[in-house]
Each structure stands twice: as C-alpha cells, then as structure tokens.
Symmetry: C2
Subunit: 311 residues, 2 copies
C-alpha cells in the first residue's frame, strides 16, 4: 500500500507543483500517491498545504502523520485547533538565496545612496563618496534561517551587523541582542534596519510609533518579513516628519497593495511586489519528499513548527 | 640622518594626507622628514606621488629610491622616461572594500531590476520574481586585486561568475578566460559585465562596437575601471538600438563629466561621480609608511608596477 499525500493548495499551485513533486518523489524512490481529492480522508498520510485553499478542518483526516507547509510563514495554519499532528515549515534553499539577494541589494542601495543617481540625474557632478560598509550599522530583527543568512552575507561585506531575537542567540561576526532592552539598543544603533521576524501575536505591530522613534534620524527601514510587523500609520508619520529617511517594503497588510494606498506615491517609500523571497517549486518539492521519506522511515521531520511559540 | 619623503601631489591632497602620513610614520617608528619643497632634490629618498601636480621631471632627484603612488592607476606616470626607480601602486584596503561594495550593489540592482521600483512607481502590482543569482552570469574583465575581490564577493552570493585577464589565472568559484578568444567567449556569456581592467595601450577602447555586439541582447555594462576602456560612441549606439539594456558608469574620459555629455540624460545610462573606489587617507598612509620601512630595511617593496606591462 503506497503512501497517500494530499495536495491542499489552490489551482494555480497545483499547476506549479504537481510535476516537481512527482519528480522529487521519483528521485527519492518514494511510492507516493499524490492526489487533490482522496477517496477517503482517513487514508491521507501527509497534507501538502498552502493557505488560501478551501481546507480549514483537519478533523476528517484521522490517519494524518504530518502537515507539510509549502510556505515559510505558518500564521494561517498554526492556530487551527483541528490540526493535531506535526506541522513542518518550508525552508527552501531558493527562498533563502532570493531573500539574501534582495536584502543585500537593498541594503547596498541605501548604503551607497543610489536612488539620487538612478532617478534624479541633473548633470551636476557631486563627488560625495559614501562611507565604507564597516562604518555602517545594519540591524536585523529576527535571527531564524533567513535572518542568519542575511546577517552572514552583510557581515561578509564588512557591514557592522547587529541582530535581535526573542531568546539569546550567538553567531560569528554579529552582535546579538534579545529581549525588550536589547531591541531598544539595536533600534538606536541601526542606520539600516531589516525586518525578518515571523508574524506572531508578540511581533504584530512591533514597529510602532514608540519603537520607530528610537531609530536614528534618517535611518532606513527595510521590510521583507511580514506587513503586520509595522504600524503603517506610525511609519508614514515618521517618514513625513523626516525622522526616518526611507522605507523599502516588500510585504503589506493587504496584497496586492491597493493602488490608492499612500505607500505607492510616498517619495520616501519604495514598494516591491512581494518578490524578496519566493518558494521555488523544485527545491521546495525536494524538501516535501525528504520529509515524507523521514516520516515513513520513522526519522524526525525537518523544520518542525513549535506551535506554542507560533513558528 | 633621517629619511626624506617628498609629497608631490596637489594642495588639496596635502590637506588630506599630511596628518595621516605623519601618524603612520609614527606608528612604524620611522624617522621621516615629510616635505613638499625639499632644500636639495638630490636628498629626496622617496616620492609620494599623485597625478595633477607640477612635477613631471624626476631627473633632479638623483638619490630617489622609489616613487610611491597614492592612486591604484598609474597611467599618468608609468611612461615618464625620467623615472628610473621602482614605482609602487596603491593597493588600499578601503579602496578594495569600497569597490566591492559599489560593484556588488550595482550588480544586485540590475539583477533584481530595482530601477523600475525605485523611479517609476505607478500603483500597479507586478509580481515578476527575478531569477536567482545562480542563474545570472556576471563577467569581470580584469582579475587584479580589485577584480578578484569583486569576483569573490559575487560568487559568494551565488552569481555565476566568469573572469577574463590577459594571461591565464585560476581562482576558486570563477570560470577564467584569457586571450582574444576567451574575451569573446566571456562577452557572449555575460548578462552583466564589469570592467576592472587597468588602462594600457592594449585595453584602451577594448569595448568597441565589435566587442559590444558580442554581448547578449539586453546585457548590462558596469564600468568602475577607466573611462577610456570604452568607445563612448559605440556604447551610445548599442544602447540606442536596444542591444545593451543599460550602462552604469563611474569613470569617464573627462571628469567631472561635462554637463552636456549625452551620458547624463540617456535613459539607459546611470552616471555615478567616480565614487566606486576612493583611496582612504589613513589606510593609504599606512601602505606608504610600510613601503618606506621596507625600502630602508632593504626588503622588497609591496605592489611594484611592471613598467613594461604598464601596471
């Protein structure tokens, strides 16, 4: 009897993932019956899940061994009380690489002051040499897989990198902070701040008026994490009065960002359309296959979510 | 009798370098008499040189042991026939770091397609995810200290990096090419091309119409090397007909770039005002002091120029 994996994500995802998943199962010589509509819910062993589909009640899936999330963020499923089996997050190499590229690129853009040269050339030669990265402080909120990878890439370019996480963590080349006091310290010492926290009740609106006010005059905020980490009105107010120099945002409370949203037209805001990090089907499918192999072999799953913590 | 070092560069440089040089000599416990106007040219041991000053005839300096250039580029002095002593180039850490930051930043900018998001926001959400760096080919012409450092930084970000130099060289993580055939191969395989060659009779106008035509449709040219490496008219023609997608230029045949030059207003050209790499006085002064120490101790000078080769 083969293993049954149900694909519970939208139509568009099926078109993207069916082939890579079948290829990844074949690579690992797994006999998996991949289906979107199982005959009997009790026969489903693994659920491959992305938010936005019709599935919200896991109760009928009485034989379920694990839910394997296609996304890194699990805020849409982690509080689902009908889910009583292990939940694994996506940690996709392509996702990490894309994030490192986007974050490093935008940090360097602000560090070098590129915007004036890209958009507002007037024929005047202004020989303003930017400081070296070693004299530029970059703060990273969130030191999970993505935050660590970005911190390492920026430290390799000689940026003075500080990181903050809920609990104490230590990494080479990075000054680590934790707790409320540590957050205040890091905010006050970040010329450029990058948000890579998961969305939890504790991190929602973390960047409110009070904490934004702790940042240095002219500091830049970069958010490729989750839109809800920032109080949008407080951010707009801080930009309007010139306390913050710029915000580069890839994620928003509502996506696509509505055309009438003030972020689009604000001269100190750059909107990018949630492109910093995107799961790549083939590498994601390989992780799903690996977790199914582990489940069937009785080995521990990779990237399990701590549901009490929320990520 | 103390060692005499003559500072032969413009007034502005003296203001920048006098203090750092005196500090660097003190750090190394060197007794150096630093002067701009020696009593007797025959008593000068070392010449600290930058182009643009009045000194063009080295004949009176009969006791000279070496000329220590404040700049990386030596094209203004290397062919001076009155110079018959060793000539050392500047290889400044700050200079290399600044170059790596500028090159990595502009490569990522073009890789991620930032310009549309920075300058032309219209409220339309275009979810075009850029490819990963591993699927982007970057070519680097010139594998000296700066080219190697940039290639290593880009390879660390997973870019597919190819390099070209006059003579064969091999480095980890980089595909190396050399000679005329190697140049044609690399040009044809570079989505983004970075020029870091020295200026010599062989490299002047290297990027002419014929070689630009070898680059892929839509490729990007980045020049932080020397303005004379490119045939400007051929570049403008390639941009105008859309064969090249963009040129980001930090160096020019005439600097400051004249306000009327077509590069300023061209929609496919970004001008930056020679900021990619700038000698930092303190680290540069330390290298000058180290070379004087070596000269006095009878040790070989660092970063000697091969005057037949021209760099």
């Amino acid at each position: 009897m083969s293993t049954v994996a149900m694909f519970a994500a939208g139509e568009e995802r099926w078109a993207q993932y069916e082939r890579p998943l079948r290829d990844a199962f074949a690579e690992k010589r797994l006999e998996v019956e991949l289906t979107r509509a199982p005959g009997d819910p009790a026969e489903v062993d693994y659920m491959i899940f992305a938010p936005g589909g019709p599935l919200t009640d896991f109760t009928p899936f009485t034989g379920l061994k694990a839910v394997l999330n296609l996304w890194a963020g699990v805020e849409d499923i982690v509080d689902n009380e009908t889910l009583r089996v292990p939940l694994a997050r996506m940690v996709d190499e392509g996702l990490t690489e894309g994030m490192v590229e986007w974050v490093t690129g935008h940090v360097l853009r602000h560090h070098l002051g590129m915007d004036a040269q890209i958009c507002r050339q007037d024929g005047v030669w202004r020989h303003n040499v930017p400081p070296l990265a070693r004299d530029r402080a970059v703060g990273i909120l969130g030191l999970g897989a993505l935050g660590q990878a970005c911190a390492a890439a920026l430290a390799a370019l000689n940026f003075r990198v500080g990181g903050w996480s809920r609990s104490p963590k230590a990494f080479d080349g990075i000054t680590s902070h934790h707790g409320e006091d540590g957050l205040a310290e890091l905010l006050a010492d970040s010329d450029i701040l990058v948000l890579l926290l998961p969305l939890t009740p504790q991190t929602e609106n973390l960047l409110d008026a009070q904490r934004l006010a702790l940042m240095p005059e002219g500091a830049v905020l970069i958010n490729p994490g989750r839109g809800q980490l920032i109080d949008d009105d407080a951010l707009l107010a801080a930009l309007d009065r010139g306390h913050l120099g710029h915000a580069t945002l890839d994620v928003f409370r509502e996506e696509p960002l509505p055309a009438a949203h003030p972020f689009w037209a604000h001269p100190r805001v750059t909107v990018t359309p949630h492109i910093a990090s995107e799961t790549r089907p083939m590498s994601a499918a390989r992780l799903i296959a690996e977790n199914i192999r582990r489940g069937e072999a009785g080995e521990p799953f990779l990237h399990l979510v701590d549901r009490a913590r929320g990520y």
